[in-house]
């Protein structure tokens, strides 16, 4: 029986974490204290049992769970129960959680997008790009006017009618100002640093390619479900306009977006 337990929810996925040490629990309690919407009293969809500083557990077939610098071994039973063993005393729980959650999200027709999400007039606008592309910068330039879902990782999940973007607890530099909110996706922008403002609407193939390049796919389960991710990405870019956005890190970028790119179209 593990000593600590905490329940929480990200993008409507309900988790229960049990651990033999308290660092992940402290992380989760701090998160829920700051963002109550991550709290969940619901029956968990996914249970994570986490053992720290385990060198070898008898009778347990150990397999490295992910290709990450952290030595996390374990198994995923029926896709619902993860038993993980960390060979160190401390590993960043947020990183492990993001990897596990990205595998489960695919089964719910969703994915984590390496993007900044901004909620404007009830709709979510996603700005995707690799590290250094300007996600945090574009969020910072809009702090006074709109809600920031995340400046680093947004969960995108298919609903009955459309795709919803959810805030995640996987922040970049703007952890203190992000909001635990969600909204239907209205447009996706792929950031390209440039010496002037400019945009180009992408056709379906180029939009799907850019989207796939920015979706978190970590771990063998993700690779096994790549066909499914492909179909979700393709469906999203058929429903939502996608643009390549060249920008300078200046506040006028938001005026440019509002003036030159009609919202959602």
């Amino acid at each position: 029986m593990l000593k600590y337990e905490e329940r929480f929810s990200i993008a409507k996925l309900n988790f229960c974490v049990n651990a033999d040490k308290d660092p992940p629990i402290r992380w989760l309690r701090e998160l829920k204290g700051r963002f109550p919407r991550y709290s969940s009293g619901r029956k968990p969809d996914i249970r994570i049992s986490l053992y720290y500083n385990i060198k070898k557990r008898r009778g347990f077939k150990q397999k490295k769970l992910f290709d990450t610098p952290y030595d996390v071994y374990g198994r995923i039973d029926n896709g619902l129960h993860v038993t993980a063993y960390a060979k160190r005393n401390y590993i960043p729980f947020g990183d492990i959680l993001r990897i596990l959650a990205c595998n489960f999200l695919i089964k719910r027709n969703g994915f984590f997008l390496h993007s900044c999400g901004v909620k404007i007039d009830g709709g979510a606008y996603l700005f995707a790009g690799p590290s250094g592309a300007g996600k945090t910068t574009i969020a910072k330039l809009n702090l006074k006017r709109n809600k920031i879902l995340s400046d680093e990782t947004v969960a995108v999940v298919k609903n009955q009618k459309d795709y919803n973007a959810y805030a995640t607890p996987f922040f970049g530099d703007l952890a203190k100002v992000t909001s635990d909110d969600n909204a239907p996706v209205k447009a996706v922008f792929f950031l390209k640093q440039s010496n002037r403002f400019g945009h180009k609407r992408l056709d379906t193939l180029r939009a799907a390619q850019a989207l796939l390049q920015n979706i978190f796919l970590i771990g063998n389960e993700c690779k096994d479900n790549l066909g499914r991710v492909f179909d979700i990405a393709l469906d999203l870019v058929k429903r939502v306009p996608a643009y390549e956005l060249g920008f300078l890190p200046k506040e006028q970028i938001w005026r440019y977006i509002e003036k030159e790119i009609s919202p959602g179209g």
């Binding site: 056709d203 379906t204 193939l205 180029r206 799907a208 390619q209 796939l212 390049q213 796919l217 690779k223 790549l226 066909g227 492909f230 179909d231 393709l234």
Partner: protein, 86 residues
């Protein structure tokens, strides 16, 4: 020798073009209309010459040029480990 697509390579035809994903190398290949058609024809039953012949019948271009281009393209696909010959 017939050429075939590796089983673990997801791909989709999109508006006549194709997107092919290599999960091992984390690479995404966009193919234009001709390349997409070649990709579809790599079904394990045809060899390079047969594929080139079919492309020649479907697309308007000089026969020798098509054969050279298709041979090159299929060699690149093999080198990229997206397809194999048997």
């Amino acid at each position: 020798m017939a050429v075939y697509r590796k089983r673990n390579i997801p791909w989709r035809i999109i508006d006549g073009e194709a997107l092919v994903v290599d999960p091992e190398k984390s690479l995404i290949y966009p193919f234009n209309a001709v390349a997409a058609r070649v990709w579809q024809l790599i079904d394990g039953a045809k060899d390079t010459d047969e594929i080139a012949e079919m492309i020649f019948r479907e697309f308007e271009a000089e026969k020798a040029l098509i054969h050279a281009d298709i041979t090159d393209f299929i060699a690149q696909l093999k080198e990229s480990e997206l397809i194999e010959a048997r």
